[in-house]
């Protein structure tokens, strides 16, 4: 039996970015003080040890100077069993009160940063946790750091809406992924009321006002009728010498479009290069080189970790007709990488995964890139 996947196309809004990075340093606009968070969502590292932290509840991305810029020593594997239990002990709570919302590796120091929620209700405390090469978690204090805030364009205004008839605004836009690319932060989001999936680019260093106007991107696939679907995860990626974004959607088309197309008022048509099948949710993507070739790894909920050769991405034909389950780009499933919750690049030769272990444990481990 076959089934048809038709959740592909989307309409994306991309805030405009400044075209040229100025001569100023990336940390020039940062202030020193307490970086306050209401929540910690996806994380992404930029250059110079700058960590971008999405705060969905504040509709903002905060850039924090971690000052963690000492280059890592010799290659050393990392394996921490039960990292969720260790973090619970560190934060003085029970393991079931710990949620790990994202995991990234500082590419300079190879220290691992985790966005943790201490508690599961509305009063949960967001905590940034770091794991160094000794495998011990520690709280990263944000009480006295250099940081700057980028407010999301068109973010909902907190407070009273609807002519004073309601005390709070229940609308919230969840940030599903962020990435740093050249001079901008790319942010994918999904609202909890109107069905709008957005992809924004905001210039970095963050400006105090003007986040720019929006352009719209969408990709054609599957014939005439299209629906919108949220971007789950994405990764900047060079095709030839041109920077592209490769985006995976919640019901798994893999779509690419050139970043240079993100111009004011532009209508961008992305190219659907693969359908990865239903009953499946993409989780994280990384790109890497091995043996002089580029590869893409995509972790997802039901098909394990998929590996794509990117030379085939360059040549991939756009899928423009309705397809039966999986189609397009060929991939191989990486054996033994089961139950991966988060994936990032650890170093040149290794990936870092957070995956399920025994009896509710979550294990953090570096694994050789396949």
């Amino acid at each position: 039996m076959k089934h048809i996947v038709r959740c592909a196309a989307t309409v994306l809004a991309v805030g405009l970015f400044s075209t040229i990075a100025s001569a100023e340093g990336l940390k020039d606009g940062m202030k020193e003080g307490k970086a306050a968070f209401k929540s910690m969502g996806p994380l992404a590292f930029g250059p110079e040890g700058i960590l971008f932290i999405a705060d969905t509840k504040s509709a903002a991305v905060i850039a924090v100077d971690t000052a963690d810029t000492k280059a890592a020593g010799a290659e050393k594997a990392l394996k921490v069993d039960g990292i969720n239990q260790k973090i619970a002990a560190l934060l003085g709570t029970a393991t079931d009160q710990i949620l790990i919302d994202d995991v990234v590796v500082n590419p300079i120091s190879r220290n691992v940063y985790l966005a943790v929620s201490r508690g599961r209700g509305p009063t949960a405390i967001p905590v940034l946790v770091r794991v160094k090469s000794d495998g011990q978690p520690e709280v990263v204090s944000l009480d006295k750091v250099k940081f700057s805030r980028g407010e999301l364009p068109d973010a909902p205004v907190e407070g009273v809406v609807g002519e004073g008839n309601r005390q709070s605004n229940p609308r919230q836009e969840s940030i599903t992924d962020i990435a740093f690319f050249q001079d901008r932060v790319l942010i994918a989001g999904l609202a909890n009321e109107e069905f709008a999936s957005t992809l924004r680019a905001i210039p970095f260093p963050f400006k105090t006002v003007a986040n720019g106007t929006s352009v719209e991107i969408y990709h054609g696939a599957h014939g005439k009728f299209e629906t919108r679907s949220p971007v789950r995860t994405f990764v900047p990626f060079n095709i030839g010498n041109e920077p592209h974004l490769l985006a995976a959607y919640t019901c798994t088309p893999l779509v690419q479009f050139p970043i240079s197309d993100l111009k004011p008022g532009a209508k961008i048509k992305g190219k659907t290069i693969a359908e990865l099948g239903n009953r499946n949710r993409p989780i994280d993507m990384i790109v890497y080189q091995k043996g002089g070739k580029d590869y893409l790894l995509l972790a997802n909920s039901s098909r394990g970790v998929m590996k794509f050769g990117t030379d085939s991405i360059e040549q991939a034909e756009s899928i423009t007709t309705r397809v039966a389950d999986k189609k397009g780009l060929g991939y191989e499933t990486v054996e033994g990488w089961k139950d991966v919750n988060h994936l990032d690049r650890f170093d040149e030769k290794n990936a870092l995964v957070l995956r399920k272990g025994e009896a509710g444990a979550l294990n953090l481990e570096s694994l050789p890139l396949p």
């Binding site: 002990a89 709280v139 068109d154 609807g162 709070s168």
Partner: protein, 385 residues
């Protein structure tokens, strides 16, 4: 110095010596009764002096005084890191203040190692003190208050549910507790868009549950293999299990079930010209009523419809929805003035299938895209007499 000494739960196991007899206490912070800290008293003057002058790292302090949150597993607790917190020497005592409030129901253990004290002199013996936070009440009080849409018949291409709870809920693995059951008693496989972030409102009393767009039947060709989540002519139940815990850790008071029937799909854009605006009388606080020909999205109907006076100013008032979200009423805070008014509606408003004003949910992408991500509004003028 705080004095709310919690003797009832304190287990003190000090073996005292006459010269220096360190003692450990868990002390309740008077200014914030949710906060507790640990104090070591009975230290010798020279040790205290050295500690005051020391510039110890947290790791050095932890060798002297550690506090662990016990997970109730003796073997599992071995090798667990000590709790994060701050150390200080205050009024002849060493104080540890946890970075975070203590967790109800959890046992904490403070241990003091006098052999790690700086300087010479009598050190006393190892002491340890456990403290257990009283557990939270796990009496189930929270319920599912309402699920929107409330209509008995929902379109085959229904886009979402809103689940409203009577109290804040807990995040994490929520989709395990939500099932869509068909009329043969079988659960529909993966009907919802499962998003790790979970689409809550900030107070976590409302959850947005999107039907997976890949499972919404559209066009004329049926989905094969997995099939659509909802099919016209059939009956379904949205089931919410009572095991789902609220923010206080208690399960729901009862399971929830909402039965509904599935009708034909709705592929039409919303046309406000078909809305019936029933103006109120001047100098009263009568409700302004709009009757929609179909149910409208519960959240958006309250957020994106506004009432403007003759000077184009937004009026304050109360919005209510009734009649399966087909009837919208607005009671102004002040009496209506005579004259021209208008209802202003953002085009992003949705019906139950996600159709907007002037734009159906399914469109050719190169048509109508301009309408997205604008705050464009439609105005429906009315006269108050």
């Amino acid at each position: 110095m705080a004095a709310g000494f919690f003797a009832g739960v304190l287990l003190l196991c000090a073996l005292s010596l006459p010269a220096a007899a360190p003692a450990l206490s868990w002390i309740n912070d008077r200014t914030d009764t949710n906060r507790w800290f640990v104090e070591v008293s009975g230290l010798g003057a020279s040790a205290l002096k050295e500690l005051r002058q020391s510039n110890w790292t947290p790791a050095q302090w932890q060798r002297l005084l550690t506090v662990h949150a016990e997970q109730g597993d003796l073997i599992g607790d071995i090798g667990m890191p000590p709790m994060s917190g701050g150390y200080a020497v205050e009024a002849n005592r060493v104080r540890f203040t946890p970075s975070f409030p203590l967790e109800p129901g959890l046992q904490y253990r403070a241990s003091f190692y006098p052999d790690k004290l700086p300087g010479d002199g009598e050190r006393g013996r190892f002491v340890t003190a456990a403290f257990k936070m009283p557990a939270r009440s796990t009496v189930a009080t929270t319920v599912v208050k309402e699920v929107y849409p409330t209509a008995e018949v929902l379109p085959e291409n229904l886009l979402k549910f809103y689940v409203h709870f009577s109290a804040p809920m807990a995040r994490g693995h929520i989709y395990d507790h939500i099932h869509l059951r068909d009329d043969t008693g079988k659960d529909v496989e993966l009907p919802f868009l499962e998003i790790d972030e979970e689409l809550w409102d900030p107070g976590m009393t409302r959850l947005t549950l999107f039907i997976d767009p890949g499972r919404i039947k559209r066009g004329v060709t049926p989905l094969e293999e997995i099939g659509p989540a909802l099919e016209e002519g059939r009956r379904y139940s949205l089931m919410i299990a009572s095991e789902w815990k609220d923010a206080a850790g208690a399960p729901l008071r009862r399971a929830f079930q909402r039965r509904f029937k599935v009708g034909p799909p709705d592929r039409e854009a919303i046309d406000p010209a078909k809305w019936k605006v029933q103006p109120p009388k001047a100098r009263t606080r009568e409700a302004l009523t709009i009757v929609f020909p179909e149910p409208i999205d519960h959240a958006l109907a309250q957020r994106v419809i506004r009432v403007m006076d003759g000077a184009d100013q937004t009026l304050a008032g109360q919005i209510m929805l009734a009649d399966e979200e087909r009837r919208w009423t607005f009671v102004p805070a002040q009496s209506w003035a005579e004259g021209r008014h208008a209802v202003s509606v953002q085009k992003t408003i949705e019906d139950l299938a996600g159709n907007n004003i002037g734009k159906a949910f399914e469109v050719d992408l190169f048509e109508g895209v301009q309408r997205r991500f604008t705050n464009a509004t439609v105005k429906l003028p009315f006269e108050v007499r």
